[in-house]
Amino acid sequence: MSFAEQFQHPLGRLSLESLPFWQMLNDPTRGNVINGVIGTAAALMVVIGTLVTIAMITKYRKWSVLWSQWLTSPDHKKIGIMYVVLALVMLIRALMEALLMRAQQAFGLEGGFLSPDHFAQLFSTHGTIMIFFVAMPFLTGIINYVMPLQIGARDVSFPVLNSISFWLTAAGAALVMISLCIGKFSTGGWFGYPPYTEASFSPGVGPDYWIWALTLASLASTFSGINFAVTIYKKRAPGMKLMVMPLFTWTALCTSIIMIFAMPPLTVAMAQLALDRYLGFHFFTNELGGNMMNFANLFWLFGHPEVYILVLPSFGVYSELISTFSGKSLFGYRSMVIATMAIVALSFAVWMHHFFTMGQSANINAVFGIASMLIGIPTGVKIYDWMWTIFRGRVRFTVPMIYSIGFIYLFVLGGITGILLASPTIDYQVHNTVFLVAHFHNVAIPGALFGLLAGYHFWFPKAFGFRLNERMGKVSAFCWIFGFMLAFFPLYALGLMGLPRRSVAYTEPSYVPLEIAAFLGAILLTVALVTLVVQLWVSIKQRDKNRVFAGDPWDGRSLEWSVSAPPPEYNFAVIPVVTGRDAFTLAKEGGKAYPLPESYTDIEMPKNSVMGPVLGAIGFALAFGLVWHILWMVILFFVAAVVTMIVYGFARDTTRIVPAQQVQQEHRRWLDAVAAATGISRADEYQSANQGLAEMTIHEVPA
């Protein structure tokens, strides 16, 4: 079918062949059956999962609650939680894919059980999902939840835009999910280098799924970045000067700045590749003046800063909780801020190290190699400052702290292999081998994921009002740490033994033992995820024993701990006045932690808005139409998007008032609970006695 014919057809490229079991039924060879069964099972999981969710919501009559309390809510806390839920759902899929890939390679001597095409879809979706639909929503969710509370704000600057960002991300995730059921995903990896992903080499729908999923995610992140940056610049409580902000907020700001600057290159790369594929442009083709090096530059101009988008919020989390669980104020605050900002600046100056092997001169390579190493300086400073924070503290080995310790050890190793890769000479040898795979997992898992999971454990009681089960949490944390080591340390060795990344099979028998070890590691990581789910289940069951309504279960230091758990929708009954760093600790020391305000005022809050879900649905449908060349769908939903935005421009009266009386009532109820609670020492942190009120006395031990 020619391009024009496809667009004329009412269903575009859609046909029965797009179903995952079609090939298996029509050509039932052993390989086709195995791959068909795996593909169909995955599709069924998506379909059944969706149907069961819908059925449960219907059965328990939760649609209206879900719609009015969650889906259309502009509340940053609820949007944050929805982001984290999305991330965890996608994490399950992407981890399953990792497990399949590790299994394939463990049996990959001369074959294995997956077809090359299936394997290629797995590594492409795994990477795409983990970066754009696990790590990004997870960190965006935590920033969303925590940052406004930390700066003493009632919400982000643009609550509806926040909701739209979430729904566009969800639309992108849904697009990746639907690719399991209809058609195939890209086989070009998460960075999809052309010309391989051009129409002449990958004519199917795969790269189109990838392009539009990334475009949706990229737009969403740009809006989130703008939203967070404006919030931090404009909505801080009185006295919350920039150099007083908690470090997590600083890293949120830095991440937002990177999002604002680094997402446009991705948008441009995706748009140009789409123009090539859809309209026969020649940006990245071999022929007629196209040049794929432009794609490499554009993509990594986004891609490298993206690494710091992923890792900086986690750095912020570590700073918060190492300080909190060492019972000590963060060492070298100013250095930490400068180091974070330095990382932001440097992150834009190193992208070329992703393609040292593309044939540029030794001078250029050496400059970019050394620039990449420079990032080691601020990162090193941060590691040392965390160590000095532990020094002369009182360290409690809580679940978040176990993640932090695992992070310090493993991230140093990841940093070291990163510096090795930053040397062009070594990169010429280990680039595109599984050594590289081991390296970026070594920074992404301990660096980003551990931080996000630690943050999940740390702030969960704040968000839901009860603590997570500690024992299961520790089991899970150790499974993550040791599973990571078992899964990825062998890959370093395999990379040095010359195994290229993305190999579906190999012929070297000596690879097998290491591959099996890595497979066991992947199983352990799966156990870690299962434990996390079980922990959540157990904790919900035991929630009444673990309530922390008073709001301060960890003897917290910043403003989010100064309100009830969960916080009221307006966060602060009265906007606090900040006098210095560690604002809540200062208040506790001064005995002003729970002040009784003289009077309350009406609070203006944004009304619910359907813009988020509507634009998300339109975005999804538009992208789906584009993927499958369904012309009427593209036109219809493009017009729908424009009309929706025009209509929204005419909306007035978008806020509502929470009356002062209601605020007073809720605030007094909480203050009564605080007064009734007993302050506990840190030894009882994980006991039922912990109702969220910390003992106020500090026992300093002099030299």
Partner: protein, 377 residues
């Protein structure tokens, strides 16, 4: 890891470039044997010597005999280096790793563990200063330490990057062997323009002589990598990249494509076989005698998306029973023609190549010439 490989694969004997010291069979025996393929897999190397004397024998066996896979003695890693570039890279890797482990990892690991123990919650006697958060001395040390390490590494990196630049010709008293490599899906075509031959699946190199390689791709981007010899470099359609390598001793090294390019990606492997200069010239002669013609028809098959095994089937030619394919009649113009054809989007094997084949000059008459210099960037 690499060290283990080093021990396991050090089987290169004194007599054979590819592995085993003694050859039980002579060439003529092998040539007449019905099982020549099998035998050559076990013992290709001793017989190499004698191949020069061979004037007859089926091309099936001759080709097979030359370079069949000595599985089990392949050098996989730059930690088991077979040439000056890889050994330079190994040294650079070891020194950088040592600096980082000694000055970064070990101090952090030891201090962190110590701090965590000494300042644990239960510790009663250790000092506890909840408000202490600044010390000019520690701050300066925290910044100065990484700065010093990075400056040190920066100097090492700057030197190594220039010394081991893949574009830099290797110093040698011998003229470099010119090699042109074209990446196809999913095989590499190795062209020896000055010898007028080409091969797929095996890259033969004379020991001790630098090799100057030009690369391009007739399809998507690929990355040529022979870890035990040196750097990898991308091959890109319509563009030419360069690579300089050298093998110091006879032996077989793993060669591969590192850049994913489709279903046959994992099969785009080859052997880089280093041999003595005498054997190399014997090998060249053999290929001239028994290779397939590299013409329109064979190029058409090569440019299909196929693995090497599928290509052999498509060519339906004898001479490839060792899994490799040998060509005679390769020309200097082919490489630049492919570059230009890929750039303009015309089919490979265009008229100009045909013309070139028609006017093919005798081997001796051809001189090395400057070929395509569409240098990248």
């Amino acid at each position: 890891m690499g060290v283990t490989r080093h021990i396991i694969y050090r089987h290169v004997g004194p007599d054979g470039p590819l592995g085993f010291p003694n050859s039980p069979t002579t060439f003529s025996e092998a040539a007449t044997s019905q099982e020549c393929t099998m035998m050559t897999i076990g013992d290709p190397c001793g017989r190499m010597r004698r191949s020069k004397a061979a004037t007859s024998g089926s091309s099936v066996c001759v080709s097979a005999l030359m370079l069949a896979g000595c599985s089990g003695d392949t050098h996989l890693s730059f930690l088991d280096p077979q040439g000056p570039v890889a050994s330079g890279q190994r040294w650079h890797f070891v020194e950088s790793l040592a600096v980082l482990l000694v000055f970064v990892a070990i101090p952090v690991f030891v201090l962190t563990a110590w701090f965590l123990w000494r300042y644990r919650y239960g510790a009663k006697s250790s000092r506890y200063t909840p408000k202490w958060n600044y010390s000019a001395l520690l701050e300066i040390a925290s910044w100065a330490g990484p700065v010093v390490i990075v400056v040190l590494l920066g100097i090492i990196v700057w030197r190594a990057t220039h010394a081991l630049d893949p574009y830099k010709p290797l110093a040698s008293d011998q003229p470099a062997l010119r090699l042109q490599i074209i990446g196809y899906d999913w095989k590499w075509l190795f062209i020896y323009p000055d010898q007028g031959i080409a091969s797929i699946g095996v890259l033969a190199l004379p020991v001790g002589r630098p090799v100057a390689i030009q690369l391009t791709s007739a399809t998507v981007m690929q990355s040529l990598h022979i870890p035990a010899l040196g750097s990898q470099i991308y091959a890109m359609g319509g563009m030419v990249t360069q690579l300089h390598l050298q093998a110091d001793r006879p032996g077989r090294s793993l060669g591969e494509n590192n850049m994913y390019n489709g279903n046959g990606f994992h099969q785009q492997r080859f052997s880089a076989v280093a041999m003595t200069p005498e054997r190399f010239s014997a090998w060249v002669d053999e290929v001239h005698l028994h290779g397939i013609a590299l013409n329109d028809q064979s190029l058409k098959h090569i440019s299909q998306r196929s693995t090497r095994a599928e290509l052999i089937a498509a060519l339906s030619q004898p001479g490839a029973s060792d899994g490799n394919i040998y060509f005679k009649g390769a020309t200097d113009a082919l490489f630049s023609t492919v570059v230009k054809a890929t750039k303009s989007g015309t089919p490979v094997a265009p008229a100009s190549v045909r013309q070139e084949f028609a006017n093919r000059a005798p081997l001796a008459a051809r001189k090395p010439t400057e070929s395509a210099t569409d240098k990248v960037q």
